[in-house]
């Protein structure tokens, strides 16, 4: 039983948009297909008449560094991200999150754009892109524009992008500079194939002295219905001295402000609450240490 009738491989964004428009809602965008094909097979997504494969659009699968800014095409795979030395050094959390997704086959075809478009509250790559304050290059309602990544999410699995009409073209974010560092860790079970129980990415900038947090961005998911920043936790740390005391303050604010929920067979809210604390204790010191030393070696990527 075929999951679709027609399959297109446009070479340009315009061509893709024309194809989608022509099918009037009966076509869907596909990149790696690691989520979409399962969703169609399980009946969570209706069988489309056509699939529009965007991975052959010129430039959509490339990484481009322009000074301190990194641009990623939406069709860049998890494996490409993991293999990029600049990202390992200067966007470490993204490499760490993309490195734990699925198995090698999934990382070889699954794309960062697909991860974001799927709009799960705990998409690994998404969690790190939020911490890196990424922007998305999209065609929304026929208008090509840059939007903050967080503006794309409506609810669990619901994106502002209509995948029968709109297009996610790419991302950009600032690479870590001096006194900046990032880290990502997740709780999962078993190691590898399953959706995470909880993931946490943090980006940290220290002040000139290296002793205080100048700024932070922390994304923990799934906590709310969309990928979101732990703003109260960030706020309590800004300007304070780096160290165990600060981490414990962050933990106690997280305890008061973050309310993870139970998912039927993945984890209870109580366990997730505890793991928010464990992850903060592991991720914050690591990100701060990377900011202090300017050195970062991604942890937990692929087989160890």
């Amino acid at each position: 039983m075929s999951l679709w009738t027609h399959y297109h491989t446009p070479a340009t964004v315009d061509e893709a948009l024309t194809l989608l428009a022509g099918y009037q809602g009966r076509a869907r965008v596909i990149a790696g297909g690691t989520d979409l094909l399962l969703d169609i097979r399980h009946g969570h997504t209706p069988r489309p008449d056509a699939l529009v494969d965007i991975t052959r659009i010129s430039g959509i699968a490339t990484l481009r560094q322009d000074g301190d800014v990194m641009a990623l095409g939406a069709g860049v795979t998890h494996a490409q991200i993991v293999a990029e030395p600049v990202l390992s050094a200067r966007a470490t959390c993204l490499v760490e999150s993309c490195g734990v997704v699925g198995g090698p086959q999934v990382r070889n075809v699954g794309t960062i754009g697909g991860n974001v478009a799927h709009a799960l509250p705990a998409g690994d790559g998404t969690t790190s892109l939020v911490a890196l304050d990424a922007e998305a290059d999209v065609v929304l309602d026929g208008v090509r524009q840059w939007l903050p990544l967080r503006a794309l999410f409506v609810g669990p699995g619901q994106s502002r992008l209509d995948q029968t009409r709109d297009l996610l073209v790419g991302f950009r974010f600032r690479l870590c500079g001096p006194r900046e560092g990032s880290a990502f860790k997740r709780i999962m079970r078993p190691q590898g194939v399953a959706l995470p129980i909880l993931g946490c990415a943090a980006w940290v900038r220290l002040d000139e002295s290296g002793a205080r947090y100048d700024d932070l961005r922390i994304c923990i998911g799934p906590v709310s219905k969309v990928p979101s920043r732990a703003e109260a936790v960030e706020e309590t740390l800004r300007g304070t001295t780096v160290g165990a005391e600060a981490v414990e303050r962050a933990v106690s604010v997280a305890r008061e402000t973050l309310r993870p929920r139970t998912s039927k067979f993945r984890a209870t809210a109580e366990y997730r609450q505890e793991m928010v604390e464990v992850l903060l204790r592991r991720v914050l010191p690591l990100a701060a240490e990377r900011a202090r030393t300017g050195e970062a070696i991604p942890e937990g990527v692929g087989m160890e």
């Binding site: 399962l38 198995g103 079970r189 078993p190 190691q191 590898g192 194939v193 067979f265």
Partner: protein, 741 residues
């Protein structure tokens, strides 16, 4: 050395290796016939309900649909390995009364046969069924209570089976007990998760026999059950297994066999079915969850003097092999030890859950989880080394077990324990005293390492008086010398390599290289009944049959018969069932003995348990093919690791909430031990072919209690419930003040 001696003990390459690696081997789903139709099954929509009306007209009118079958189409509408307590199809108009009730979501209600799989899938949803809900009961302890809904007329109080053991004098035993440990042990359900979901093809063969091509574990039993339901003589039914994609006990009961036979017989056309993973997980049984209450006593020197236990097993909605599995758990709950005074009561209880049944270890893992848990706690309470405590109490040749009889000759537990402990590297015995090496701890204080061990025994062959034996035929072709050997032996090779072992043993028995031997297997028309591939019995039983047939054929060869053909049935020594009052019996033909040593790392903050290393020591009697044995050890260890740590069938009101492999989590390459060391020991089994014992279930059995002991060693906390999901671990650790900053 002769050719014979050279072949036994060699890691002959698997006969199926090249085909499987190249993807050329055909499994049931890969086989097609011209003019074939496709079948889809409508499973029960309710957990426990009476069907009051069924309208199939919309399905029948759907384009492409050839036929819809319901309960009224099944000639003898019942089946079951233990007792025929399940309708083939639940619904109205059944020849057997009472088939209008569905008792679990695995019940099959209707079949749609169409000219395409898509048409069958669409039409099967169009059948309108009206149900009248009945009270659902999913907790076996609740099902035992007075006033609980009764699920089957033949099972008073929902009790399918109750066994007893009354051995020695309990009052005297407890009077001698200076140290007593008690525990309540709970084990979870487990899904077989074989690579190949159920599939098959039914057709009429050239002789008009109803033929089913399917993956199973026992061609003759499948034939009997298909014939029974269709009301046909067994000779009118033929079962063929192509390559089988794993089984582990999960293919012992019927899945698609009867319904394929029924449709092919009615339509006189080939009919094919392939189950999805979800259909597989919902459509076949699971490992029995059990609750075991145990109380053991010992003298302060460590000698066991008394044991009491109660076992409650959730049978699920139908009998399947529950009585047999319970029988084994009932025996194993007292472990591998001399216990002069013992009292055990075990119950298999009907509920509306998916049926529970055969799964590698067959009640042994549940029994060992309690027995070895008790021994490890007793060692702690006595301040004794766990190896030393076991060495003092293990059964030896001539020891009387709790069922009043000795084990069959060739008991090697003491040597398996000692050899395994030393080869694990974790224990030493420099001056006759067992001592454990200290374990190196990681720098990160959240990660704690620990070491644990457990041992066990497992029966080989059918137990408790069931007739046990195996037919084989050997045909010798040639004139002056034997040019070709045909061995007819239909025992199932589920992927473990049984066929390779058969050929190797036939070659050794006749005295020719393996290249000269051809196997005719997996077809009821080729040879007599082999019994099932289960109970770690196939090497033992088929080996004895092949050896016997070869000896007879060689006699004929020497008498100048050409070809020289001999058929032989190996009859195993008789066993006896439990005495209903005392449990006294001579339960088994033979046993395998094993001990496991495990190192774990526990993340006390997240509750993740990682098994770093497993040393698995086994008395296999004689290793016919060492590589195949290592494959079984490594596979069983990983499967048992899943059972102990992560595999969790999540149910709500009798429905499985995680019927996919993205939500029912089995170990991946990141979860398995960095090292699994196989210690293969060869203490001859006087009853086994070339001294061999069965071994394929054994590495599963002690792993969970060994892991629990290692987690205790790492954290100081005992766990009495598996799987050790991170949540459960975190809750218990926090209660003990661990992992909190």
């Amino acid at each position: 050395m002769s050719e014979k001696e050279l072949l036994i003990g060699q890691s002959v390459r698997r006969l199926d290796a090249v085909g499987k690696v190249l993807g050329e081997t055909a499994y049931p789903g890969d086989i097609d016939m011209e003019d074939q139709l496709w079948m889809k099954i409508r499973f029960a929509d309710r957990v426990h309900a009476r069907i009051t009306a069924m309208d199939t007209s919309k399905a029948e009118a759907h384009p492409g649909v050839v036929a819809v079958f319901t309960a009224r189409d099944v000639p003898v509408n019942e089946y079951g390995l233990g007792i025929p307590d399940q309708p083939v199809l639940c619904g109205l108009g059944s020849a057997k009364e009472g088939a209008d009730i569905v008792r679990c979501i695995s019940d099959q209600v209707a079949l749609v046969v169409a000219d395409s799989e898509a048409a069958a899938a669409e039409a099967v949803r169009l059948i309108d069924i009206t149900y009248e809900d009945l009270p659902v009961i999913t907790d076996p302890e609740e099902a035992l209570k007075t006033g609980a809904p009764q699920l089957h007329p033949h099972a008073q109080g929902n009790i399918l089976t109750h066994y007893r053991i009354r051995h020695g004098d309990m009052a005297a035993g407890w009077a001698q007990a200076e140290v007593v440990v008690e525990g309540v042990y709970r084990t979870g359900a487990q899904e077989h998760a074989y690579l190949q979901p159920e599939a098959g093809l039914g057709y009429l063969d050239e002789e008009g026999r109803v033929t089913v091509v399917v993956a199973g574990q026992w061609v003759h039993k499948d034939r009997q059950q298909v014939a029974h339901a269709l009301g046909l003589p067994e000779e009118q039914v033929r079962i063929i297994y192509p390559a089988i994609g794993g089984a582990f006990g999960g293919r012992e009961d019927m899945s698609v066999q009867i319904v394929l036979g029924l449709a092919a017989w009615k339509l006189r056309r080939p009919v094919k079915i392939i189950w999805s993973r979800e259909e597989s997980i919902i459509g076949h049984h699971k490992r029995h969850p059990m609750t075991i209450r145990a109380k053991w006593g010992a003298t302060k020197e460590g000698r066991l003097v008394a044991a009491e236990a109660e076992v409650v097993a959730d049978a699920g909605a139908y009998a399947y092999t529950s009585s047999k599995v319970l029988g084994n758990a009932h025996l194993m709950v007292c472990g591998a030890y001399v216990i002069p005074n013992a009292q055990v009561d075990s119950y298999a209880v009907y509920t509306n859950n998916v049926p529970n049944g055969a799964f590698r270890g067959f009640g042994g893992p549940q029994g060992a989880f309690a027995a070895e848990g008790q021994m490890n706690r007793l060692a702690e309470a006595l301040g004794m080394d766990p190896v030393a405590l076991r060495a003092m109490n293990v059964l030896k040749d001539g020891s009387i077990t709790v069922v009043g009889s000795p084990l069959p000759p060739g008991v090697s537990l003491d040597r398996v324990l000692a050899d395994g402990a030393v080869q694990s590297g974790y224990w030493e015995r420099p001056d006759g005293q067992w001592r454990r090496q200290p374990v190196a701890q990681p720098a990160d204080p959240a990660r704690r390492r620990g070491i644990g061990m457990a041992l066990g025994l497992k029966n080989i062959g059918f137990s408790f008086g069931a007739p046990e034996g195996n037919w084989a035929t050997i045909e010798l072709y040639g004139s002056t010398e034997i040019e070709r050997v045909v061995v007819r032996e239909v025992g199932a090779d589920m992927g473990q390599g049984a066929h390779t072992a058969f050929v190797q043993m036939a070659a050794a028995a006749v005295g020719v290289p393996v290249e000269k031997v051809e196997l005719l297997g997996h077809d009821t028309t080729y040879a007599g009944d082999s019994g099932s591939t289960s109970a770690s019995r196939m090497t033992f039983m088929a080996g004895n049959a092949i050896k016997g047939a070869a000896e007879l054929a060689l006699e004929k060869w020497r008498a100048e018969e050409r070809p020289a053909i001999a058929t032989y049935r190996y009859n195993a020594p008789r066993t006896t069932p439990y005495d209903p009052e005392t449990g006294r019996c001579d339960p088994n033909v033979s046993y395998g003995y094993m001990a496991q040593f495990v190192e774990v790392e526990v993340d006390v903050e997240t509750g993740h348990v990682h098994v770093m290393r497993v040393v698995s020591a086994h008395d296999v009697g004689k290793a016919i093919n060492p590589h195949l044995i290592e494959g079984q050890i490594e596979g069983a260890v990983i499967q048992a690791l899943g059972y102990a740590i992560m595999e969790d069938v999540v149910t709500k009101e009798g429905r499985i909430l995680n019927p996919t492999l993205s939500t029912y989590l089995i170990p991946t390459i990141w979860d398995i031990p960095q090292e699994t060391k196989s210690v293969i020991l060869e203490y001859t089994d006087p009853r086994g072919p070339w001294g061999a014992r069965g071994m394929a279930e054994m590495p599963f059995i002690p792993l969970a209690p060994a892991i629990v002991a290692a987690v205790h060693d790492a954290t100081g906390v005992w766990f009495d419930r598996i799987p050790l999901t991170p949540e459960r671990v975190v809750v218990r650790l926090r209660e003990q003040g661990l992992g909190v900053i």
